[in-house]
Assembly symmetry: C2
Homo-oligomer: 438 residues x 2
Amino acid sequence: MEHKSLDNKIVSRVIEESGIKSFATASIREIVRLVNQLEEATGIRYVRMEMGSPGLPAPPAGIEAEIESLKRGVASVYPNIEGVKLLKDETSRFIKLFLDLEINPQGCFPTVGSMMGSMAAFLVANRNDKSKEGSLFLDPGFPVQKTQVRMLGHDYASFDIFKYRGKKLKEKIESFLAGGKVSSIVYSNPNNPSWMCLNEEELSIIGELSRKYDVIVIEDLAYFGMDFRTDYSVPGAPPYQPSIGRYTDDYIILISSSKVFSYAGQRIGIMAVSDHLFNRRYPDLLRYYTSDKFGHSIVFGVLYALSAGVAHSAQYGLAAILKSVNDGKYRFIDVVKEYGEKAKIMKSLFTGNGFRITYDTDIDKPIADGFYFTISYPGMTGGELLEKLLYYGISAISLDITGANRNDGLRACVSHVSRDQFKDMESRLKSFNCNYPV
Amino acid sequence: MEHKSLDNKIVSRVIEESGIKSFATASIREIVRLVNQLEEATGIRYVRMEMGSPGLPAPPAGIEAEIESLKRGVASVYPNIEGVKLLKDETSRFIKLFLDLEINPQGCFPTVGSMMGSMAAFLVANRNDKSKEGSLFLDPGFPVQKTQVRMLGHDYASFDIFKYRGKKLKEKIESFLAGGKVSSIVYSNPNNPSWMCLNEEELSIIGELSRKYDVIVIEDLAYFGMDFRTDYSVPGAPPYQPSIGRYTDDYIILISSSKVFSYAGQRIGIMAVSDHLFNRRYPDLLRYYTSDKFGHSIVFGVLYALSAGVAHSAQYGLAAILKSVNDGKYRFIDVVKEYGEKAKIMKSLFTGNGFRITYDTDIDKPIADGFYFTISYPGMTGGELLEKLLYYGISAISLDITGANRNDGLRACVSHVSRDQFKDMESRLKSFNCNYPV
């Protein structure tokens, strides 16, 4: 079916029927649904780059531990809200071995995906001081975290960091914090979608400002260790994944299992609250919770009321994966390197056919190859480019919805494009380039 | 170890160290932790009635389907936010067969426990009209649902229904609704903790008022079919579990899998939104969500942002349980009848030793035997009674935290007391009765 060509009329009709008004602002899930319909209507397999979901199988250690726990009878027993002991211990150990940070197991919680992790973080971190108003997002970023803040009735500010890298970051962030209204700073590192990676100097600036203005830092490590330019893969040995934990006392780290452990289906992530923050008291929390202690509000306020804990078997599954990673048996970073290798090839297919990498540099170096990259085509906005590429069997999402300053680009995710599609992808990009000469 | 007697000094010390200031207001989880410590320090096995968790094994159909799905590879794949098709279909079928209601599979969602179900319901139902302020709870009830409402910055009202049963319910509820500030009415049926059961007449009153004042009804069926006085166990045949669905258009039904399917560990419940409500448009929802449609806000607003769906294998597990129930193969109500049978015996042990049943009647009939019952002892408040019983190896929770008018009672849950403890329980109650003569 790869060699069939697309029927423009069918594509037009399906797009028309989808009700999508603007390809610049359509959500990821709307594009996913549209491309499902396009594949069904046209019979053509798309080069699908719109959704950031894993393309590798789950680690056998996790599956086996889940099965074993189910046979043991955990399905009928409420899990502890704060997480089963084994998982808390292995999480704390993972953080020591791969981040070189000390976080007591007590502050290491499973959450129902990192989605619930950020939700729980906002529910407490953005309510600790009634004179403050919400989060500062270092953009571009994952759009749903802003949805969460809005849903909770909080406010947020954001800016695109591309032009404020290195020392320039300080003045820019401080311009937001100086008003005293910011509760928390949020970013993902590596950055989704641009794959920019904040370095130690930049993290030290964020840490310094966090202390100066008493702002909690929420660090999203959804793509833990996936800046493949540096080898973070050896447990307990430097170099370590850069982290805010070295530069401030009050921070929350979110580690998704979806990408690095290919475990998106079981909805389990990790939320680690620094010891200092866990034990801090904020009288304004009493407006919403029965305790003024941050850690107590997280467990008995938020995690209890959101879902009363995480699926029991999934906790044993993730604990087993972490144990095998911590013991040096499962080298998870080596496994996900495949994404970086595919990114390198896919980027060259784009740039060889008139495209440009939108976010092309990481301060003074070329951007790394990872899970996402960004693409532009001369003379087109992101919305236009996305709509036109759909006629060539290629899908992605517009950068407009990620808080990027650039409205001429798309985010492309490598995970669901298989190597056997590369040849086809190349010929589609060639015809695109012929029909839209630069 | 059953025949050792408790060392009062040790009990006093452990209570002292627990930091619990008042047994009237201590939360369920605080009592659980205290009794864990008491059992450890004294070496005595308590008659534990404080936590409403299942005491039966999970149905093999669920476990097997989870294991099979894990082997098939679902752990690495994001589940649909709105739930896998099989589960949605079997849920809609279950609702038809056991409630005689038609709800389109599209409005049947898995949630991370009914805990997330009520949270999701409040996040949309209490935001559909900016002139309204929150929920009306028909008490007594499950305390955490009020925590959820408070956490979201909404308001709530409540009253104890015991003195307002039957026709008297109308005037009482209307006195709250008449102000036009109530967004939703919330109750559990059978009632946790009193085990009162709202009947068809009362539900028709709630339905009538729901229409008159345009209020959404949130019906919590956590103890589905567990009013064992009536046999609701035959799929597709009357009598059916009473439900608000017969009396109003705009309702949400929550069905926990924790008790009726003994599946508390996997954190999966069902939220069913009536077709009429699913398709209704409320312009005020646009303050928080991208759509004014109730159903769209539930899926792409709330369920997406809370956890991006429910653990994949647990969805297949619950789907298999429901299928086997719907096919008439797994008679779930027969299985949980054991709770009612134990309740009958345990209540007689209490009443034979000076205790009274606090909520003793269901309008004009004796209260049913089920998962919970309520107990009082002449001349003692609930807090006093709970503290004193701990010295006799018996634990429960105070009714004060359930919104009950009665502050002289405790909620007792039968699930974790095994029949081999009854003899011991009887002798402990006898000594209690001797030492506190009525």
